[in-house]
Symmetry: C2
């Protein structure tokens, strides 16, 4: 299936991520392009093989995650699109929910549609915690 928009490619990315589906995850990424993937606190990965191996490991570690994705900024052009999202991630198996991971996702239009070329994710150290049942920081005293 040809992803006809950056939003559709992004939706496929988080669907594959959430369901731990490595094959669908790698189908979201472009082939024959420079790629960049930075997982939170991780190094810059730049080859499709290394990126694929990193996802294999991450997805195997947790077969189901629920993503609540908030699009915070997006810029588009004919062939390149950038989307910055907050990812609120819940892990049903453990019951944990984490404060936002910030991701900058970049997509490129090719003859076969829109594909991911970069995923740069990071954690806000001040708010990275299990957020279930915790009061908002400003109400603490």
């Amino acid at each position: 299936m040809k992803p006809t928009s950056p939003a559709e490619a992004e939706s496929a990315f988080y669907s594959a991520f959430g369901s731990g589906d490595h094959m669908r995850m790698m189908a979201v990424w472009a082939t024959a392009e420079d790629l960049v993937c930075v997982h939170p606190m991780g190094p810059r990965l730049d080859s499709r093989d290394v990126i694929s191996a990193s996802w294999q490991q991450i997805l195997a570690g947790e077969p189901q995650r629920i993503f609540d994705i908030h699009l915070k900024a997006s810029w588009g052009d004919t062939n390149i699109a950038v989307r910055v999202v907050d990812e609120i991630i819940s892990v049903p198996r453990s019951g944990l929910q984490f404060a936002p991971v910030i991701a900058t996702n970049v997509y490129k239009f090719t003859d076969n549609g829109w594909f991911m070329i970069a995923h740069h994710a990071s954690i806000d150290a001040a708010s990275n915690r299990d957020v279930r049942d915790s009061e908002p920081a400003h109400t603490r005293h």
Copy 2:
């Protein structure tokens, strides 16, 4: 001066960053656009005022940094450009040198030239250390 390319805007960004020049730093950023700035381990900042205040604080903390910038990937289009760089940062005052900060920088073309609209920086936790005089990891035993 009108930045005529993403590379020129990026050069102005690191020049301002390195010399602690807040006014020149903010001249690199677009006005009247959605903006995103994520400092390493930090939250997603999204207004020009908040981004400006963050740079004020960072630049005031260290008046001189030397940046050795390695462009690792770039994608461009008529109006949007994305550049992923490794930033090797040396601080002359302390003599410290840090392993790469990874930055995804996004630029937009406006009537006045190319301006920064997003800067997403993160640290590789495994390699973030003072790298002076340290052996490469693979030679340790």
